[in-house]
């Protein structure tokens, strides 16, 4: 029953946190995360083994639901228009983060070059789930929301492919840059295509099912299938969920473009119910991230803190460069602080330990410090910006 009790408390905390955010501009994410740390590493109310066993399932579910939510609320024209800028932001930011981490680990800590590269790949990119969840609360312009959402999803892909490539090299000793680039291309292409294909097909079917009860649960079933198909064809599941949502949320534009008739846009019932489920998953996600927090060496704390602030500095430079001569220039502070790491980094950080051996115990610990610090910087920054916005509402709608 403790799980039920915790679930009820998380929902109430999330609900009260929303209210608290409206009044103080401090996002509830930080309270939920700390609540997780309290339940897990401090009071040990949940067995670590059981948590680790369900982590991949929960991470995948959160990814699906939250990215579908992101797509559902995204304007398809903005997405197409802003994807090149998001791509530049994602690739340059991630690569610089990896380079700095690798250099620091190699020259200051004396690690192997590949280990630095692996750590950099894991913690080098922001979490799409957290960025999309937080940006929604800020009511930023459509353009900023789209660029940041797309960028965070792209870095998710880069982190995953980068980490697996580094592990492969460490295991086999062979370096294959071509294969890595190929994986990135396939991940993007297949993920987008599957999302689009399932989305269009589902729109056509939904037209026939119009008015039937339980439409939300059925949409969820198709979303799960899209995710699995995309991932098993070598694509990125997150992208398929996002594009599936994008098509469903922009049904009229899609129908016009594909030349078929549709009278269904996702109805209010489905949208409202999804809103409740999305809130639930979001709240649980932050607590879950806190639950997994672990620490045994103080050196991990210092390295994690150093990396977090280094990433903040790098992001400041990259955002400045990417927003030159653009209306986004005015939102560069907001764009800079939107760099929190999340569960994806935690999951990836646990891989070297299981695949490469016990000497990689320090990876999850560093990753958790980076996750905690970047989320804290982000939430404090959001609160600060929200207060400033009320004085000059230039950047936000």
């Amino acid at each position: 029953m403790i799980a039920f009790f915790a679930a009820a408390l998380i929902i109430i905390l999330g609900f009260l946190g929303e209210e608290f955010f409206k009044r103080t501009s401090i996002p509830e994410a930080i309270f939920l995360l700390l609540f997780g740390v309290l339940l897990g590493p401090i009071f040990h109310l949940f067995a670590e083994d059981a948590l680790l066993a369900i982590t991949p399932y929960f991470a995948a579910l959160a990814l699906i639901i939250i990215l579908f939510d992101g797509g559902l609320n995204m304007d398809i024209r903005e997405a197409v228009k802003n994807s090149p800028r998001a791509l530049v932001l994602a690739i340059s930011g991630w690569m610089l983060n990896v380079l700095v981490t690798t250099a620091f680990c190699k020259f200051v800590l004396g690690w192997r070059l590949l280990n630095g590269l692996l750590l950099g790949s894991i913690v080098g990119g922001g979490s799409s789930i957290i960025v999309i969840a937080l940006i929604k609360k800020l009511k930023a312009t459509e353009k900023i929301e789209t660029v940041l959402s797309l960028e965070s999803i792209l870095t998710d892909v880069l982190c995953t492919v980068g980490a697996f490539t580094a592990i492969d090299i460490l295991l086999s000793g062979e370096v294959s840059l071509g294969a890595a680039l190929g994986s990135v291309g396939v991940a993007f292409g297949v993920g987008i295509l599957v999302g689009l294909g399932f989305g269009v097909a589902w729109l056509i079917i939904m037209e026939k099912l119009k008015g039937k009860p339980n439409a939300y649960m059925l949409t969820l079933a198709v979303l799960f299938l899209a995710f699995v198909v995309a991932t098993n064809l070598g694509g990125n599941g997150a992208l398929s969920a996002l594009f599936f949502g994008l098509i469903i949320g922009n049904s009229r534009h899609t129908a016009k473009l594909m030349k078929f008739r549709t009278t269904v846009s996702i109805d209010d019932n489905v949208r409202d119910f999804h809103c409740q489920i999305s809130f639930l998953i979001r709240s649980f996600f932050f607590v879950f991230t806190g639950l997994l927090f672990s620490l045994s060496a103080l050196a991990s704390v210092f390295l994690g803190l150093f990396l977090s602030f280094a990433f903040l500095g790098i992001r400041f430079v990259v955002v400045k460069m990417a927003t030159v001569k653009s209306e986004l220039h005015e939102a560069e502070t907001l764009m800079t602080i939107m760099f929190p790491r999340g569960l994806a980094a935690a999951v990836l950080a646990s891989l070297p330990l299981t695949m490469l051996g016990p000497s990689y115990q320090v990876f999850p610990e560093i990753a958790f410090i980076v996750i905690l610090t970047t989320i804290m910087i982000c939430t404090i920054g959001v609160a600060f910006l929200k207060k400033r916005t009320s004085r000059s509402p230039l950047t936000y709608t």
Binding site: A8, I12, E18, P56, P213, M217, L218, V228, T231, C275
Partner: protein, 412 residues
């Protein structure tokens, strides 16, 4: 590439939801019970193909049961119009109670001698076998062009028995766990559990109606209501009361907010709250669909398909079905004496489909390590299949006979 187990989990979830939706659509169109499809799907995934084993499900079973019970009772409470139950449909209450008592007494006695088990274990069969399921009966009674009074009586009867079964079962279970067999302690136990449960559910319900009214424009009212429901159940259990009854009482307060708010003298803007109540009910039905679909598949997964088990289930199931139909006929006759509904006794008897509440109760004894607990799901699953078959085929036969009279089957 996604981990194989992970991919399989998501595929299975998607397939179950898709088949659940198709089966539900078929049920709404033709009256053919979706329960059968879901049970068969579970049997195929579990005992036949071995994709999911019983042991894989053991850690989630208690949560699924608890959630399912909370949902049935809370939803049942929200949908139950107390004034209608108490004033207009005394006959529905009479039918529900007499049918429940008859079946509990007779089936328990038969089970006692048939299986040579303790009385208290035999008594547990009563709530698992008695009563009808609101999920099966309500849509079906609306589809059949029977008189409004009959349709309302059957719907109310099923809503009442859903709750009655669960509450009574937990009273028996409480008695079993306390180890005392004296009638006095049984009565004391029931009064204490019921009293605390009702009180906690009512109190939280009243406060939550007031809070809901205040936060009605906030976006996450439904999810928050679920959180409060969970806390109410836990709070009641911690205070020694019945958790399930607290859930029922809380649902009743929210469903009957007009009467309750005037009773406790709080001001509620009816039109605005009604809108919110409808939203809660709509979301609840989506979640209820999810839980129901997964629960029946789950029941199929843990079903033992060995020849001995199936034969045993079928034999006992047929005996219990015969007893059930006979006793239901008597209960229907008794509760329709001197009223126009007495013409509908056949269809009222045949609409006896069982469902989620029965299924949920059947797996609880195993959770508490009660001896011979494995026989409950075997018999109850068979009974669910048989009663649903009777409901479907019975109504078809009646419809064919009265094709040109007032019984007609219509598209909803």
């Amino acid at each position: 590439m996604l981990d194989l187990t992970l991919a399989l989990t998501f595929i299975l979830a998607a397939v179950i939801l898709l088949i659940g939706f198709l089966a539900d659509t078929l049920f709404r169109k033709t009256g053919f019970p979706d329960v059968l499809f879901l049970l068969v799907l579970g049997i195929i995934f579990g005992p036949v193909l071995g994709i999911i084993s019983k042991n894989d499900l053991a850690p989630v079973t208690p949560y699924l049961i608890e959630l399912s019970l909370m949902m049935i009772l809370f939803y049942g409470g929200m949908e139950m119009d107390l004034s209608k139950v108490l004033r207009q449909s005394g006959r529905a209450t009479l039918l529900a109670v007499t049918y429940f008592v008859f079946v509990t007494v007779v089936v328990s006695s038969v089970a006692k001698f048939l299986f040579n088990i303790a009385w208290i274990q035999a008594l547990m069969f009563g709530p698992m076998i008695a009563g009808t399921s609101s999920i099966v009966i309500i849509p079906l009674s609306k589809k059949l062009k029977i008189s409004e009074e009959t349709s309302l009586t059957l719907s109310l009867e099923s809503t009442i028995t859903d709750s009655l079964n669960i509450v009574f079962f937990f009273a028996i279970l409480g008695l079993y766990l306390s180890g005392s067999l004296s009638l006095l302690s049984f009565a004391e136990n029931i009064v204490a559990q019921f009293g605390v449960g009702i009180l906690v559910g009512f109190a939280v319900g009243v406060v939550w109606v007031w809070v809901l009214h205040k936060i009605r424009n906030e976006p996450y009212t439904y999810i928050s209501t679920l959180a409060i429901l969970i806390l109410t159940v836990m709070c009641s259990e911690l205070l020694g009361g019945s958790g399930v009854l607290a859930a029922l009482a809380m649902g009743l307060v929210i469903g009957n907010y007009k009467e309750v708010s005037s009773l406790v003298r709080i001001k509620i803007a009816s039109a605005k709250f009604e809108e919110l109540r409808e939203i809660l009910t709509r979301f609840q039905s989506e979640l209820a669909f999810l839980i129901r679909t997964f629960f029946f598949v789950f029941l199929g997964l843990i079903y033992d398909i060995s020849f001995n088990s199936v034969t045993f289930g079928l034999l006992v199931g047929l005996i219990f079905l015969g007893l059930n139909l006979g006793l239901r006929y008597i209960a229907v006759r008794l509760s329709t004496v001197r009223c126009p509904m007495c013409k509908d006794t056949t269809i009222m008897t045949l609409l006896c489909g069982q469902g989620l509440a029965h299924a949920t109760l059947s797996v609880i004894p195993q959770q508490y390590g009660i001896p011979n607990a494995q026989i409950y799901p075997v018999i109850v699953v068979t009974m669910i299949i048989l009663t649903n078959a009777v409901t479907t085929f019975g109504s078809f036969i009646v419809l064919r006979k009265k094709k040109n009279s007032r019984f007609q089957y219509t598209e909803a």
